[in-house]
């Protein structure tokens, strides 16, 4: 029909969907990132244990580094909070009226949790305790 779905990446970014659009995009990106991270980690841990492979061990060393953990904790907390918002709004659809307020609430919950975690991670990294 008339609907053209072949929209390029940068043309798509210009669509002014606002907060919900960015939340939807970030939810997908963080979701795929987690599938890649957890999938690789499962296989790397298996081979580290069974064959002692150097590649698998190095992958897990990267995963334990503090820089990687700052990224992973962002991905997990954002996807978890955003998913919780989606699930709650789907269970009680009458709250969909307040979906933009829900997004702000989600941001105000996200910032202290993530900020505190990053602060402690950097503090330990600077102190060199791991």
């Amino acid at each position: 029909m008339g609907l053209n779905r072949r929209v390029g990446f940068f043309a798509g970014l210009k669509y002014r969907g606002g907060g919900p659009m960015w939340a939807w995009m970030l939810h997908r990106v963080t979701g795929i990132a987690m599938v890649l991270f957890v999938g690789t980690h499962v296989f790397a841990s298996f081979f580290m244990q069974q064959t002692g492979s150097d590649l698998a061990t190095n992958i897990n060393i990267v995963y334990e580094s503090w820089i990687f953990q700052i990224v992973v904790i962002f991905i997990v907390i954002f996807h978890g909070l955003n998913g919780m918002r989606i699930a709650i709004l789907d269970i009680w659809p009458k709250f969909q009226v307040f979906q933009r307020e829900a997004l702000w609430l989600q941001l105000f919950i996200f910032i202290p949790i993530y900020g505190l975690t990053v602060f402690i991670l950097i503090q330990h990294a600077v102190a060199g305790s791991y």
Binding site: V35, F43, Q69, G80, G83, T117
Partner: protein
């Protein structure tokens, strides 16, 4: 204006839509159980933050190997946590690969490749489940 009633059939997409919500909320609950239990076992003084994060994501004794816990067999490593790990792996891997399927199918649209991609993702899901359960039970 009269409202219409819709009888949703139990299609695959409908079941997975509900499963995504239930498994997502369950994963948050399982993570909460993990972090609360860790503090009940004495994580405040024995475990640093990255280790606690790893334990919260997945309560596997290998994740707390670098901590100051004197004996992980006291609470941290037992059959209860093996059951919790299997639950997390089942919910997490199924939720994740189903989400990957959703994203890929959104991009390819109606394509001849769709059943092959579905089959490949199902194979990956089976493989990841078998390996994860093996690591949980025999490590």
């Amino acid at each position: 204006m009269s409202s219409r009633t819709v009888q949703p059939g139990l299609s695959f997409e409908y079941v997975m839509w509900i499963f995504t919500r239930i498994s997502g909320l369950s994963l948050i609950l399982l993570a909460a159980i993990g972090i609360i239990s860790a503090f009940a076992y004495g994580a405040r003084t024995q475990v640093d933050l990255p280790t606690l994060m790893r334990w919260t994501f997945f309560p596997n004794p290998n994740h707390i190997i670098n901590s100051d816990i004197p004996d992980v067999t006291l609470g941290w490593a037992n059959a209860f946590w093996q059951v919790m790990q299997i639950l997390i792996v089942f919910f997490g891997v199924t939720h994740g690969f189903n989400g990957l399927r959703g994203v890929i199918e959104d991009f390819i649209g109606q394509s001849i490749a769709r059943p092959f991609i579905r089959g490949f993702i199902f194979l990956l899901w089976t493989f990841a489940m078998v390996i994860a359960v093996y690591v949980i039970l025999f490590s």
